[in-house]
Subunit: 159 residues, 2 copies
């Protein structure tokens, strides 16, 4: 990822796609969200979702996994160019998480992240705070998931 | 859980406690958040967290698991009393999720949920929307995690 100083509002990161198979939906649900409509096709069909549905927390966890994988690819590319990779700092939290459409077995979500704001931190001059609008669209182009995230990103070291 | 009509602002649900062992932290991270400070003690010690740290999404997923288990216990108690259990509807999303303290290997979080607002839905007379302030405190009594959630809850059927 770029240093805070090189990040521009409107920059987009495309994290790629993920297909929520029945097995993966049930495996997540059994560990973290064991509700019938996340565990069983028939219970899903009878529910408000109308089919076996991924836990909303699964949809969110896959955002994180694809983001980390995207960071890793960038770090490897930086190392291959002989540069030191920039490592993102922690996230203090996020706002306005929305599950807008059910994610049913077989659906594929495509995740992206747009920079919507940035500011330097007076209290921590080596870091800046960047705000992102994170989204996932399904294979029909519908916005299924969104939230406003933020993360501490390192400032460019003085030459 | 109670019907929408029987829920009062200030009602508290105590979901119980969960200890983030090194194995569970690494298992979640390997699946969903494979960053070094979530996967390896030494990398954690060298990070801003100061130790092997649970993914924030793990902390959130455990909120969901303990909540579902709490719902199940209530449903079983209702059935034992000869009543029909009330089943919560889906959540449209949440707001203001905050990771306030690192959750390190060996930390125990205790999760609770307080009703902060409720309103009937004109468009869906069989449901009401309830807002919750969800929290997790660590074994030192520090607030480590919080968010404002909401869920559709069934209205009491007319007699």
């Amino acid at each position: 990822m770029p240093y805070f100083d090189d990040i521009k509002i409107g920059d987009r990161r495309e994290m790629g796609s993920f297909t929520f198979t029945p097995d993966l939906i049930k495996k997540f649900a059994a560990q973290f969200d064991p509700q019938p409509f996340h565990l069983d096709e028939e219970a899903g069909r009878k529910s408000v979702f109308g089919g076996l549905a991924a836990s909303g927390w699964h949809v969110a966890a896959i955002y994180m996994r694809l983001t980390v994988e995207s960071f890793k690819r960038e770090a490897e590319a930086a190392i291959a160019r002989g540069e030191k990779p920039v490592v993102s700092g922690p996230s203090p939290g996020f706002r306005e998480l929305k599950w807008l459409k059910p994610v049913l077995a077989g659906d594929t979500l495509t995740y992206a992240s747009d920079v919507i704001a940035k500011r330097p931190l007076e209290s921590r001059p080596e870091w800046g705070l960047v705000n992102f609008a994170n989204t996932a669209h399904n294979q029909r182009g519908e916005l299924a998931f969104s939230f406003l995230g933020s993360a501490f990103i390192p400032r460019k070291p003085a030459k």
